[in-house]
Symmetry: C2
């Protein structure tokens, strides 16, 4: 029903096959392309009757402007590049959805990349995406390679770093304090009566969020006077399976732990399932806390105690900031704190 041979065969095809250009619209409306261009971008600068003729011509031709041409001449595309560690995590996807929604509503398109928690992959993706001369960039975290930083600088576009509060943001950062959040959750667990609190963290030593959460946990434990033995901080790769597998090691650890704080809900759900399967009662035998507050956290049995992070707000704020940057109106701080919440449910 559609194409059957190579894409260039203008002789047999109708003129309609070829996608309409602005000049086609212009001819049909009896004006020049410049007037059409104005009608589309600044309709108030075109007389009502001309506008109507042009709109009619646009409709009948199904004209859609060529963004490549537009980008080329205006020296800036309508593309926003966004890089996330993974899309398989509903915490990130919540932010992604909101970002996408906000940008789309303002005529920008999101070019998405997945870094797998690896700054080298980030660099590679960036070097590809920069070719679009994006209007703005959204990155997760503030750890980047030198070459990435150079590209970002050259691109001269607004850059928002998500998900943490770095001391020296590249441009603007939007997030919450991971250190503080881990500290507060650890403290809360102690308050709720748990003493030997283990911490399961993502094993990405270059990931500022991992490092900060570890620091927050250790700070709390130090202040509480609880020694953190080697087997109490567990480093694992991302995934439900990681959390589940870790339970076996934990239950055989020498000084029995009574609470497990996971640096991600994905890990925590895995741990919860592992514990249930191992016949441990949660939270009586082992309390479990997560990080992220994914949708399932509140539904699972027992409902997961976790750190709630404002994923939609982070997306919304960063989109707003980039757009304000683009029209020069942003005058907020370089680091925007969206906060977090300690959500106590049944698992701790």
């Amino acid at each position: 029903m559609s194409k059957q041979s190579k894409p260039d065969m203008p002789e047999t095809d109708q003129a309609t096959r070829r996608i309409a250009r602005m000049s086609d619209v212009a001819r049909l409306a009896g004006v020049t392309t410049m007037t059409v261009s104005r009608a589309l971008r600044t309709p108030e600068a075109v007389s009502p009757q001309t506008l109507e003729k042009i709109e009619e011509a646009v409709r009948s031709t199904g004209f859609i402007p060529n963004y490549a041409a537009r980008s080329l001449v205006s020296q800036r595309s309508q593309i926003i590049v966004a890089l996330f560690p993974t899309m398989m995590n509903s915490v990130f996807s919540g932010t992604i959805e909101e970002l996408s929604r906000q940008f789309l509503a303002n005529g920008y398109h999101l070019l998405l990349g997945e870094t797998s928690f690896d700054v080298e992959v980030e660099e590679k993706l960036l070097s590809g995406f920069i070719g679009w001369r994006p209007a703005g960039l959204v990155l997760t975290g503030s750890e980047h390679t030198d070459y990435s930083r150079k590209m970002l600088e050259n691109s001269a576009a607004p850059v928002v770093e998500l998900w943490n509060l770095p001391d020296n943001p590249f441009d603007v950062a939007v997030g919450f304090s991971n250190r503080e959040a881990a500290y507060r959750m650890t403290m809360s667990l102690y308050e709720w009566g748990y003493r030997r609190i283990a911490f399961m963290n993502l094993h990405y030593p270059l990931n500022d969020r991992s490092v900060d959460r570890s620091a927050g946990y250790r700070q709390a434990m130090a202040e509480l006077g609880v020694p953190v033995t080697e087997d109490m901080e567990i480093w694992v790769p991302f995934g439900v399976e990681s959390g589940r597998a870790a339970i076996d090691r934990l239950t055989t650890a020498s000084p029995r732990i009574d609470a497990l704080f996971c640096s991600s809900d994905t890990l925590a759900l895995g741990a919860l399932m592992g514990a249930t399967r191992a016949g441990l009662r949660v939270p009586e035998d082992l309390a479990i806390a997560g990080f992220g507050d994914v949708e399932l956290a509140s539904s699972v049995v027992p409902a997961l105690t976790t750190v709630g992070v404002p994923r939609a707000a982070i997306g919304r704020e960063s989109a707003r900031i980039i757009m304000e940057r683009l029209n020069g109106s942003y005058d907020g701080p370089p680091v925007v704190d969206c906060g977090f919440t300690i959500v106590r449910r049944e698992s701790a």
Copy 2:
């Protein structure tokens, strides 16, 4: 540390601030832009020593080609448009990840959109994205508005429809039979001893997957001679909460059902949690089956019986097909069946 005023101020800034063009590289290497272009795209057509000079110049300038210019002249961008109902579902994100990986490895970039199961939203997204003159498109399902079809036709790019096996694909379809899958799962539940099998489906009457799964379920029930009363097919919106909430209605339904087949793992997990919370033993009091085999399905307690769908394979295949279409080498069938599996675990 980065930009502080409006983006155009070439007089004070170093030349380095401005992003390098191909002509900058060419001047530095002592050749013309055409030779640089060749060095980048067909290095075998350039002499070794020239190639080296150019590579050095590219390195020192940090040159990255302007894709907008490239797209404009070559009449086709390196952009692939992919539209999915939601990104908050790890079934889809598995396909998205694989798609993204495959295309990236071949120099294409993925422009992602979220339709929220709505063909009108799809049309809107499409009309925006078509402006990039994408090299190819990946859509979910084969239900599209007339205007969408017109745009797809005009774009003259390869189009892959995912996730089902339509009778009349627009171009190529890659997926599995939703009807057959629902039929087989219903039959399996019967074989395993369940009789009054209810079906919880996504309430999107225009969604071909929903419709087909419903048809498969009803066909099986008809063949089995089990009447489907009104309260046995439940239509709900997408989300864990939907599944959970539906349990209340079910337990009070007049002819007690003994199995609940959900058209999505997300719903099934919600139902599982709802059932557990309501004190129902799964599968003794109520069997539950899902659709999709998300990562959590195998970890949850009781582990979820579900329909396994080849999400990575679907992504891989569709990427391959689009790229083969682009170089004219595709000679496979217009409908590619990636199959599905019935995964029996503990919940049914």
